[in-house]
Subunit: 233 residues, 2 copies
C-alpha cells in the first residue's frame, strides 16, 4: 500500500557494499609497485603515490572504473621508468589488471541474506559507478540481480546524478534512502539532495573516496542491520 | 494527446547518427599504423587487421568505447612489435587516442535542425553505447541534451537491452521507433523485439558493425527526413 511506508525505494551501492572491490585494486597496485619499483628513474619517488596522482589527473577524462585504472597504470609506469620498463613487465601489468574484469565477485559476509531480507519489504535499486559492462558482469555474477527492480550504473555519484535518478521516477527525495560504504559517493550527495543516507563502512577505502567532513548519518556495522533499522524508524 | 500518435517515443543513436565518431577512430587507427608498422616483427602482417582482431577479442571483457580501444591499441602494439616499440611511440599512441575523449563533437550536417524538428512532435530518447563519461561529454558538448527526455547509455545494444529500456517505461514495442546508422545496433535488435527501426546510413561503418542480412526497413538519406517520414506514415 503506497503511502504507508516512509521509504518507497532503497538504494544500495555495489563496490565494497555488496561485493569486494577495493581489495582487488589494492592487490593490483601492490603488483604494480613490485614490477615498476626496480626500474624507477628517481628512487626517492613513491611509486604508489604517482599512480594515485595519475588516476586523479585522469578522472575528468577517463572517469571511474577498471579500464581507467589500467590506462593510468600504463601511463604511470611509462612516466616513472622514463620508458625503461621492459615490455614483458608492461604486459604482466596489463594481464594483472585484466584479471579484475573476469571471474566471479565475492559477496561481503552476510550480504546475500541482507539483500534477501530487504527485498521482502522494499523495492531495491542498485546505484553503482564504474565501467558499464564490468558493473553489469559483477551484478550478474553476484546472484543478486533479481532482487533489484532498478539498476543505475552512473559515471559519477553527484547530487545532480542522484536527483536525476529520482526525478525520472517522479520520486521525492524524502521517499528515498541510500546505503553504502563511501561517504563521498553514497552519503554526502544523497544528504545534499534531501534524501536519507545510511553509512555501512568498509575496512578498505580508496584514497579518492575519503572525505573529511563529519556527517550526522546513521552508521551500521554491516548491511544485515539495514532491514531492522528501516523497520524501527 | 496520448493515443493519437502511433509512436510514443523516438529513439536516436548518437555516434555517426547525431555526431561524427568513426572518422576519429579511423584517423587514430591510421596513426597507429604509421607508428607501429616500422617496428613490426613480421612485415607480412596487416597491422590494422591485428588491431581489429585484438578489439574483437577484448569485446566480451572491455565492452565498447574509447578506453577499450586504447587498451586494445596498446596490447596490439606490444604484440606486433614483440615489445620493441619505443616507449615514446607508445606514449604518442596513448595521447592520440586520449585526444578523442576531449573537445567538442562535430554534429553531422543538418542534425541540429533535424532533432529540433523531431522534438516538436515527439518525445526523444538517446540510446548510445560506449563509455559512460565519454558519451555524456559528447551529448553535453553537442548542444542537443535538452531535446532528450531520456538518455540511455548502454553496454551493448542487444534485443534484451532494448526490451529492458521499454519495459522500465511500460512502453509496448509497437509504440517505439529507433533511428540510427548501424544495422547491427540500431536496426536488427529493434526489429527483433517487434519495434520499428529506421536506417540512416553513414558513409563510414566500423567493421564490427557490419551485418550481412538484408532487412526490410525504411532507409533515409539523412536524419532530417525522419520527421517527415513519421508524419506521413
Amino acid at each position: 500500500v503506497v503511502g504507508l511506508r516512509e521509504f518507497e525505494l532503497v538504494g544500495l551501492d555495489g563496490d565494497d557494499t555488496l561485493w569486494e572491490c577495493q581489495r582487488h585494486f589494492d592487490e593490483v597496485t601492490e603488483v604494480f609497485r613490485q614490477i615498476v619499483a626496480p626500474h624507477v628513474v628517481d628512487p626517492a619517488v613513491d611509486v604508489t603515490e604517482v599512480l594515485d596522482a595519475t588516476e586523479r589527473r585522469h578522472l575528468p577524462i577517463y572517469g571511474f572504473g577498471v579500464k581507467a585504472f589500467m590506462l593510468s597504470m600504463i601511463e604511470a609506469a611509462l612516466d616513472l621508468t622514463d620508458g625503461a620498463l621492459p615490455a614483458e613487465d608492461l604486459r604482466r601489468l596489463i594481464e594483472e589488471a585484466k584479471s579484475m574484469m573476469v571471474g566471479e565477485v565475492t559477496l561481503l559476509p552476510g550480504v546475500g541474506n541482507a539483500v534477501d531480507a530487504l527485498s521482502r519489504d522494499h523495492r531495491l535499486m542498485l546505484v553503482t559507478k564504474g565501467d558499464l559492462l564490468d558493473q553489469r558482469r559483477k551484478l550478474d555474477s553476484s546472484g543478486l540481480a533479481d532482487y533489484f527492480e532498478f539498476v543505475e550504473i552512473v559515471h559519477d555519484k553527484t547530487p545532480a546524478v542522484y536527483r536525476n535518478i529520482l526525478d525520472r521516477r517522479e520520486l521525492h527525495p524524502s521517499r528515498f534512502v541510500m546505503a553504502g560504504d563511501s561517504l563521498r559517493s553514497d552519503i554526502v550527495p544523497v544528504v545534499a539532495i534531501g534524501a536519507t543516507a545510511v553509512h555501512v563502512p568498509h575496512s578498505r577505502v580508496w584514497a579518492h573516496e575519503v572525505v573529511v567532513a563529519e556527517h550526522d548519518v546513521p552508521v551500521l556495522s554491516n548491511l544485515g542491520e539495514l532491514s531492522g533499522w528501516l523497520a524501527n524508524r
